[in-house]
């Protein structure tokens, strides 16, 4: 009986101490972890790009109030967007912006850095493409064009 009681007490004290140390945060600087994604791989000009992610510790715990710095560079190496957002209670963050109509087509790279006083920064990047969709008149002309090419091919073959 006393042996079992001792085991219970030791187990409880271990839990108590672990939680205390975690909350006190007196250990050396912990490293932030950063996961980032965009909601699509290909966007049209003028479409909203959503960059989201999670700032966490190595044990998966979300980090609130981390500063998330974002810089988006286009295929011409020009900067097209910058932002500073804050992570929420669960470490999540979101930045939304609309690509300008005049933005060049091609590959865009978003560089992201998560930082918070008392922690080591984390960095990541994500890529997406901007490719305009075919406009309706273009789509309507496509079958006509294909039929014309086919007709010319058939005629020439008969000749």
């Amino acid at each position: 009986m006393s042996r079992k009681l001792s085991l219970i007490l030791m187990f409880s004290i271990t839990i108590f101490s672990t939680i205390s140390l975690e909350m006190l945060n007196v250990e050396a600087q912990q490293s932030l972890q950063l996961q980032v994604k965009v909601d699509k791989e290909i966007y049209d000009s003028g479409e909203i790009v959503r960059i989201s992610g999670i700032v966490s510790l190595s044990n998966g715990t979300g980090v609130a109030n981390a500063l998330v710095s974002i810089q988006v560079m286009g295929p011409d190496d020009a900067v097209y967007h910058i932002a500073l957002v804050y992570s929420n209670d669960t470490g999540g963050f979101l930045d939304e912006y609309r690509t300008p109509d005049e933005a060049p087509n091609g590959l865009y790279t978003a560089y992201i850095k998560a930082s918070k006083v008392g922690f080591e920064d984390a960095q990541s990047q994500v890529e997406y493409s901007v490719i305009p969709e075919l406009s309706s008149p273009s789509l309507a002309m496509l079958p006509v064009l294909l039929v014309t090419i086919l007709a010319i091919y058939v005629i020439k073959k008969r000749e």
Partner: protein, 391 residues
């Protein structure tokens, strides 16, 4: 072996009790709501408007120069090395009128340009608008300007603007010592400086090792202002306040909208980069006059003043992103500037409003980073200003 069914429950209860004790012993107590409300101290500064009256047609815009200067009779101001930090607000603006104070915050003595756009449907008459300055401790001063609408305008000639909200927070000083009281003040307003009343504000203060040392919730007053203070006392277990850079986060919640911002202060010496964007002012093409309303195709200048309260930055980057009314970024400009501790820098950016620019509210968002994010940098400070583009 007899196993009593209540034993696992006993272990669980004991663990829960000990866990609760651990959490309760470490969580800082939130202060009571409404703590830190301004106690309306005697004003330490004065406001002067020039001119005090302007005439116009309904739908037109008028401008006033607002001078904010220290009260010469205030003894404390004579001893103070830094000027008084003052937030400016506008009260009594008629419906569908818009106003722009540029800048909206500054340290005495400084000047601000007040631009008022009247509504086309405003009936002729005299309209009195109050400009209020608010400082730490609830110190307030005001001045009144009058707009005389002489003729009716063209109804419906101007589209109503969809404006956003702006949250700002500052500490009374940039550097403190252990044992001192840190006072902070903030404001929530529209892009045009109209105060937001009764918004919920949450404040978190983090020490240099990332530990939460202070938490408070409060509400904005009738001028959209909120206050708080806390003492840099010994932390638990006899640990003195750490030297280094502290971060204050503010979250505002109003009508299902949430805004966040932050500021920093230092105890003894900085441990982290810390930049304050003191002002963002939009100017005419010559850079000699504050301007808030522009036309399509018009060139403009943007003046930014920053101060370094942290460690030296050899190649800090000041960025300016311009956003169109639908928040599309239309231009990103940047300049690299070394800046030492205690130093202030004034930077000017040139921009030409596109000929096909959509009329509405445009935003100037200024960021400062220690280096480009693409090469491992991070944004240290952010602030924004707005201006209007018309056809």
């Amino acid at each position: 072996m007899n196993i009593r069914p209540c034993k696992p429950i006993g272990v669980l209860l004991l663990t829960l009790i000990l866990t609760s004790l651990a959490v309760a012993s470490i969580n800082p107590k939130p202060s009571s709501a409404f703590k830190g409300m301004g106690d309306n101290q005697a004003p330490k500064f004065k406001l002067e408007a020039k001119p005090v009256i302007r005439n116009c047609r309904a739908g037109d815009a008028v401008k006033f120069d607002i001078k904010v200067k220290e009260d010469e009779g205030d003894e404390a101001s004579k001893e103070r090395r830094e000027g008084e930090l003052v937030f400016l607000r506008v009260e009594g603006l008629p419906l569908e009128w818009i106003s722009q104070l540029s800048p909206r915050v500054g340290r005495t003595d400084f000047r601000s340009k007040l631009t008022i756009r009247t509504a086309a449907e405003s009936p002729p008459g005299t309209y009195n608008i109050t400009v209020v300055g608010v400082s730490f401790g609830g110190s307030r001063s005001h001045t009144v300007v009058s707009v005389v609408v002489e003729q009716p305008g063209e109804p419906g000639s101007k589209e109503p603007y969809n404006y956003g909200l702006e949250l700002a927070i500052r500490t009374y000083r940039a550097v403190y010592r252990a044992g001192e009281e840190v006072e902070l003040m903030g404001s929530l307003s529209t892009d045009f400086g109209l105060p937001i009343f009764n918004a919920t504000i949450y404040l978190f203060v983090i020490n240099p090792v990332g530990r939460l040392i202070h938490f408070n919730s409060t509400r904005t007053d009738n001028l959209g202002t909120f206050y708080d203070s806390f003492k840099l006392t010994e932390e638990k277990e006899g640990i003195k306040p750490l030297n280094g850079t502290y971060v204050i986060y503010a979250t505002a919640i109003y009508e299902k909208k949430m805004l966040r911002t932050h500021t920093t202060f230092i105890v003894e010496y900085p441990s982290y980069p810390s930049i304050q964007i003191d002002s963002i002012v939009t100017l005419n093409s010559l850079g000699n006059e504050t301007k808030s309303i522009y036309r399509q195709g018009e060139p403009m200048k943007i003046k930014v003043v920053i101060t370094n309260y942290g460690i030296a930055l050899n190649s800090s980057v000041v960025w300016v992103e311009l956003q169109a009314p639908n928040r599309i970024p239309i231009k990103v400009m940047l300049t690299i500037v070394p800046i030492n501790p205690g130093e202030s820098k004034e930077l000017t950016f040139d921009f030409k409003i596109p000929l096909n620019a959509e009329p509405g509210i445009y935003y100037v968002r200024v960021f400062v980073s220690d280096k480009p994010i693409s090469t491992g940098g991070r944004f240290i400070a952010m602030a924004s200003e707005s201006f209007i583009v018309e056809t």
